[in-house]
Every structure is written in structure tokens, then in C-alpha cells.
């Protein structure tokens, strides 16, 4: 057993097998132990209700953390006297109230809407040291793939599985296939982790990763900061992958060390020893390997209504007839009609009316620094009507304010908001108006994603900032030269 070379995925999987349903079937369904469970208000009410109805309890409340994020308005949540400002939408209020009630009832640690630690679950988990390398991490949210940037096996689950994890701290899972996406070389100036992962979305297409856990490897990945790695792994789901993984290394350990829930003392030493073993062994086989040259990647932007609809910012809107697949031709025509775009139009000619900097993909401090660096001393164009920055957590917000980034954004004409998921999916009041375009640092450009009729262009924080200044989608490298 010990000598067979294994991938990183197999090592984490093997360490979490409670039992095999069929002892003779090594590829069959296993009962897998879950180390960390993040809970938010949207996908949990029915799970708690089911537990209550069956008289069941939460097996390991101490491995569970509840944080509201999707529905919260990003405007002030307390008045000057410290009293809660009521939430206008009764359904949002009801869902938030349900989590606030369910978490203490089931003994789960709850970070409240006005706590300094509140934020998007996928920002809070790593930030608090709750998400750790080598852990199995789940949440009723597809962007749980994010935590794979730390070298954790992390994936989104549905509400029935949320209930299953709450009740048993396990999941019944069949092993995934493995894919290596190797990115060698260095990213050029103005090219970020977001551009890298958008590029991968274009290469793998929206379903290229279906059935796989993807391990991102190569020098371009190793050179990324942990926050950059979280951005890459976050979008693994946008190419259909069950999870993304990046092997933990000294960069990871330096990031984790000292965080509130991170191991300390002897625990830390034992953890480091195990974490160092979490690499894919030489000779281990992936089911599929995709190689990408970092030099091919430029700032990337989407033109359509699937994250696979990626072009370089220097490119043009594609013509549907140029796609080989007839069903993609049809989908592209529908996308272009929805997006109000004409084939051949240069991407940098597309005027935008809204800019959103935020989401679990790009709302961490380095993202805000990158956007602020572009905006420093500049102002958004007059045709950008709405530009908001939504920090990923209260701690990110406080850090940004300590660095004076909030002033840079406000002086540039942006609104500086409270943390949450916000206009990534518009479950709260932050929506892009119908027919209007948004340069957005989020992860999905689906039809109606940012509000009914909204038109989303996915970009990096630097590109979003440059586009705000230009009033159209812009190449941040051009702005730097001005």
C-alpha cells in the first residue's frame, strides 16, 4: 500500500475513508469523513428543518461554522445607536433570521451580520484558519472549490448533503477522476490569477472538468500567493470540476500560521509534517493532463453567458459560425443576442455602465490593492453609473481602510460597502439593471445572474478598475502606459 505512487487527491481521499460500501470495489462509493463544514443562510434552512423533523442532532457542531453572506445588504447594518437596521426584503430577512436561530439551537458557532469577522464563507474560512490544508471541506455552495487553493479537498454540496453532513459528519461519495492542469512559465505584467483561471475556463470549456478533481500545478501556480491560488481554485467549478487542488507549500504554511483556528504549538509541528507529505508522488498517474503556457495568457474577459466564453482583452467578439460545434453556434447566437454584441467588435470598444469589485473569487485584500493601484489618482468615467467595492469580509474591509484603500476607491467614484456576496448573484439589493453591462470580478456571467436582464463581463480586479476609468472594457496594460 505504502509504495504505490499517489496523487495529492488520492492522499487526502485515503486519509478520510471511514469505510467502503463494498470492500472489494476500490472505485466504489465510500463513506468520507468531513473535517470542516461551512453553513450559510441560503442552502441550510431545509436541512435544519429536516433534522428537527426527524429529531436528529448535529454530530460535530465544533467542526461547523455558520456565516450569513448571500442575502445581507451591503449598506450599513446598524444605526448610530447600534440598533439593527431592518432588512427591507421580507424573504431575505426570514432566511437570515432562520440561520441566526438554527445555529445556536444546534450548538453551532455563528458569526453574526455585524461581527468584524463576518464575510463571504469562502473568504472567512481561510481567513480564520478554519479551512486547512489536507482537510475535507464542504459547504452548500459550489464555490467551496475555492478552499482547494490551500490544498484542502473542498467542494460544494446540495441541501440534502448539508443535512447528511450535519447529522453524520460524513458524505457518501464515489471517487472522482483526476486531472492535472499544469501551467508553466511566468505571468506577464498586468496578468493575474483571475486571468489565468479565465484562460483555463476557455481551454477546458464549461464541462471539461466534469467528473474530475483538478490539481493545478506548474511554476505559474507555485508563484501565486495563497489569495491568488484561492481565486484559481474558486473557479474550478466553472469548468465543471468537482474540486480544485493546489499542493500546500511554504507559501501556504506562512499564510495559515497564527490564524485564529489554525493549529498551534505541538499541533502545528505535527500538522506541518503531514502537510509536507501532501504532494503528488513522482510516477503517480492522473486520468488526464492539460498543459498551458503562462506566456499565452493575457488579461482575459468574457463576451457571452458561460464562463467558457473567454477572449483576450485584445481580442474581438467571436462570430458564432466560427465555432465547430453546431450546438455551440446556436448557444453563441443566443448569448450575443442577450449580451447585445456584434461579432468582430473589439472587446476594448464595449462600453460599460456598472463595475462590481467583490465576490468569493476576488474580494480579498490583494484584489482590493490591485484595483486601488490602478485607480489611485484616477476617476471612473462619467458613463459608469454604478461602481461598488464589496470587501470579502469585515477583516478585509478593516485592513483596506487601515491602508487607505477605501479613500482611493471613494475618490475614484466607487461606493465602499459592507461585506457579502452582493452583486455576484443579486440576492440582496445589489443588482445590475436590465440591459446594462457590468465589468465584474465575480465568477459567473450566466443569463440574469447579476439581476434580470443583466449583462456580465467577467474580469480581474485590475481590469475592472481600468474599465471603470475608461468607461469601456479596457486593457490594464494600456492604462499603465498613460
Amino acid at each position: 500500500m505504502a509504495s504505490r505512487p499517489r496523487t495529492l487527491y488520492e492522499k487526502i481521499w485515503d486519509a478520510h475513508v471511514v469505510e467502503r460500501r463494498d470492500a472489494n470495489d476500490s472505485r466504489g462509493t465510500c463513506l468520507i469523513y468531513i473535517d470542516r463544514h461551512l453553513v450559510h443562510e441560503v442552502t441550510s434552512p431545509q436541512a435544519f428543518e429536516a433534522l428537527r423533523a426527524a429529531g436528529r442532532t448535529v454530530r460535530r457542531p465544533d467542526l461547523t461554522l455558520a456565516v450569513p453572506d448571500h442575502n445581507l445588504p451591503t449598506t450599513a447594518r446598524r444605526d448610530s445607536a447600534g440598533a439593527r437596521i431592518p432588512i427591507a426584503d421580507p424573504e431575505s430577512a426570514q432566511q437570515l433570521a432562520a440561520l441566526e436561530r438554527n445555529a445556536p439551537e444546534f450548538g453551532i458557532r455563528y458569526i453574526g451580520d455585524a461581527d468584524a469577522q463576518q464575510g463571504i464563507v469562502h473568504v472567512v474560512g481561510p481567513e480564520q484558519g478554519f479551512s486547512l490544508p489536507g482537510a475535507t471541506i464542504v459547504c452548500g455552495d459550489s464555490h467551496t472549490a475555492c478552499h482547494g487553493g490551500l490544498g484542502a479537498l473542498a467542494f460544494g454540496i446540495g441541501t440534502s448533503e448539508v443535512e447528511h453532513v450535519l447529522a453524520t459528519q460524513t458524505l457518501l461519495l464515489a471517487p472522482a477522476k483526476t486531472m492535472e492542469v499544469r501551467v508553466e512559465g511566468s505571468l506577464g505584467p498586468g496578468v493575474t490569477a483571475k486571468d489565468l483561471v479565465l484562460h483555463i475556463c476557455g481551454v477546458l470549456r464549461a464541462s471539461g472538468g466534469t467528473g474530475y478533481v483538478i490539481e493545478y500545478t506548474g511554476s505559474a501556480i507555485r508563484d501565486l500567493s495563497v489569495e491568488g491560488r484561492l481565486t484559481v481554485s474558486n473557479m474550478a467549478i466553472e469548468h465543471g470540476a468537482r474540486a480544485g487542488l493546489i499542493a500546500p507549500d511554504d507559501t501556504t504554511f506562512a499564510y495559515v500560521k497564527g490564524r485564529p483556528y489554525a493549529p498551534r504549538g505541538a499541533d502545528w509541528d505535527a500538522a506541518i509534517t503531514w502537510w509536507r507529505s501532501l504532494t503528488t508522488d513522482p510516477g503517480a498517474r492522473y486520468d488526464k493532463v492539460v498543459t498551458i503556457d503562462a506566456a499565452d495568457i493575457v488579461p482575459s474577459v468574457t463576451w457571452g453567458t458561460s464562463p467558457e466564453d473567454v477572449v483576450p482583452i485584445t481580442g474581438t467578439v467571436p462570430a458564432p459560425e466560427n465555432f465547430a460545434d453546431p450546438s455551440k453556434q446556436d448557444a453563441a447566437r443566443k448569448s450575443l443576442e442577450y449580451m447585445g454584441l456584434v461579432p468582430g467588435e473589439p472587446m476594448t470598444g464595449i462600453a460599460i455602465q456598472n463595475v462590481f469589485i467583490g465576490s468569493c473569487t476576488n474580494s480579498r485584500i490583494e484584489d482590493l490593492r490591485a484595483a486601488a493601484a490602478v485607480l489611485n489618482g484616477r476617476r471612473k468615467s462619467a458613463n459608469v453609473k454604478w461602481a461598488i467595492v464589496v470587501p470579502g469580509s469585515g477583516l478585509v474591509k478593516a485592513q483596506a481602510e487601515a491602508e487607505g484603500l477605501d479613500r482611493v476607491f471613494i475618490d475614484a467614484g466607487f461606493e465602499w460597502r459592507e461585506p457579502g456576496c452582493s452583486a455576484c448573484l443579486g440576492m440582496n439589493p445589489d443588482k445590475v439593471p436590465p440591459g446594462e453591462r457590468c465589468a465584474s470580478t465575480s465568477n459567473r456571467n450566466f443569463v440574469g445572474r447579476q439581476g434580470p436582464g443583466s449583462r456580465t463581463h467577467l474580469v480581474s480586479p485590475a481590469t475592472a478598475a481600468a474599465s471603470a476609468v475608461a468607461g469601456r472594457l479596457a486593457d490594464v496594460r494600456e492604462l499603465d502606459r498613460q
Binding site: 471511514v18 469505510e19 460500501r21 466504489g28 462509493t29 463513506l31 469523513y33 470542516r36 441560503v42 442552502t43 434552512p45 431545509q46 436528529r56 465544533d62 467542526l63 442575502n71 426584503d89 431575505s92 426570514q94 432566511q95 432562520a98 489536507g134 452548500g140 455552495d141 459550489s142 454540496i157 446540495g158 441541501t159 440534502s160 448533503e161 443535512e163 447528511h164 447529522a167 453524520t168 459528519q169 460524513t170 457518501l172 464515489a174 464541462s207 466534469t210 467528473g211 465543471g240 468537482r242 483556528y261 489554525a262 493549529p263 499541533d267 502545528w268 505535527a270 458561460s306 450546438s327 455551440k328 448557444a331 448573484l425 443579486g426 440576492m427 459567473r444 450566466f446 440574469g448 434580470p452
Partner: protein, 199 residues
């Protein structure tokens, strides 16, 4: 969960590719705290078109949906499965499904049938006028015209669907094995086993 042995009836010849769960059920419908009544929001944007299949007298309430590649991609929202169930859909046939959607569907007694595009094309044609039948035990899809397509399904999922098993109940019965794992983990990976006690 009700046992599921076969699904027969008209099939909605939808056929579109990369249908994400935002299309199946838009975010504004996710604010519910129950599982019921989501059929009203199912495919809401597509149903703004008065000629849509989902509201047509011929296909409304059909138990089978035929879709394109990568059905259910995107968000993990189980509301997508609940919305389909509320529409009356008990089976979806497509060349591929997102992993999360497929799991959610199965846990709600909806079978996801993977068939090659050539079979999908044929079923899309049949579905225009005639019913389609899915038999879970024999893992086959048949039509009145002697078409017969076999499909693969995870044996455990098949077993749970056929017997209508409650997965949580099944796993709770394995409490001893879970406790053993937790004990071992306390020795092997103590910092993981400790959870939020560190704070």
C-alpha cells in the same frame, strides 16, 4: 423517499446545452425556507416566451426532460432539483450532467440518465409525438418504435432509488464506524479533529 422503478410518459424535447442552475431556478427563488412550490420559478426566463415547451399543453407536467450536454452546471442549489420535481419531472436524459446537480437530483428521487448524443438526437425526435420509457432495474430507455438504449448508473445510487432509501438514516446506522474513524483521527490528525476548540 418514494421508490422509483420506472418513469414513463411524454418527454420534454428541450435539448439545450450548458443549462445552468440559474436558468433552472433564478436566485430570487432561493429565498424560500421550504422545498415546496418552486415549479413556479422553474425556467422562469425561458417561460417568458409564450411558445415555451414547459407551459405547452402537450408537454406541461411531463415526467421526463431531455437536455443537452452539461445539464445543471453552475450553482449547487438543490432548489433546481426541487423545482423540477415540482414541475413533475422524475427523470432527466442528457449526454452529461454537472456532478453536483446529478447528486442533488438523485437525493430527491430524480434519475439522471446519461446517453450519447446520437441517442439523445433520436429521443428528441421521438419525444415530439410519442412517449419514452425509462426502466431503472434494467437500465434501459425505450420508445414505442423498438428503440432501446442502455445506460450506466452508480450501483449504490440505483439501489437507493429502487428501494427509496433515506441516506441519512443509512449512514446514521454506521455510527460505530464513524466513531472509530474519529478516534483514530484524534491520534493521527489531532489538529483536524479539534475543530474550533482552538479559538
Amino acid at each position: 423517499m418514494e421508490p422509483l422503478r420506472e418513469v414513463s410518459g411524454r418527454a420534454i424535447p428541450f435539448g439545450r446545452k450548458n443549462i445552468d442552475t440559474d436558468v433552472i431556478i433564478p436566485a430570487k427563488w432561493l429565498k424560500t425556507i421550504t422545498r415546496d412550490g418552486l415549479g413556479r420559478g422553474a425556467f422562469e426566463t425561458l417561460r417568458e416566451d409564450p411558445g415555451n415547451l414547459f407551459d405547452s399543453p402537450e408537454f406541461a407536467g411531463s415526467p421526463i426532460l431531455i437536455a443537452g450536454d452539461n445539464f445543471g452546471c453552475g450553482s449547487s442549489r438543490e432548489h433546481a432539483a426541487w423545482a423540477l420535481l415540482d414541475l413533475g419531472v422524475r427523470a432527466v436524459i442528457a449526454p452529461s450532467f454537472s456532478d453536483i446537480f446529478s447528486g442533488n437530483a438523485f437525493k430527491n428521487g430524480i434519475v439522471t440518465v446519461v446517453l450519447p448524443q446520437t441517442a439523445i438526437d433520436r429521443l428528441m425526435e421521438v419525444a415530439q409525438t410519442d412517449p419514452v420509457s425509462i426502466d431503472l432495474e434494467s437500465q434501459t430507455v425505450t420508445t414505442p418504435f423498438q428503440d432501446r438504449f442502455t445506460f450506466e448508473i452508480d450501483p449504490f445510487r440505483k439501489h437507493c432509488l429502487l428501494e427509496g432509501l433515506d441516506e441519512v438514516g443509512l449512514t446514521l446506522a454506521r455510527g460505530d464506524a464513524i466513531a472509530r474513524y474519529e478516534n483514530d483521527a484524534k491520534a493521527a490528525l489531532p489538529w483536524l479533529a479539534k475543530g474550533v476548540e482552538h479559538a
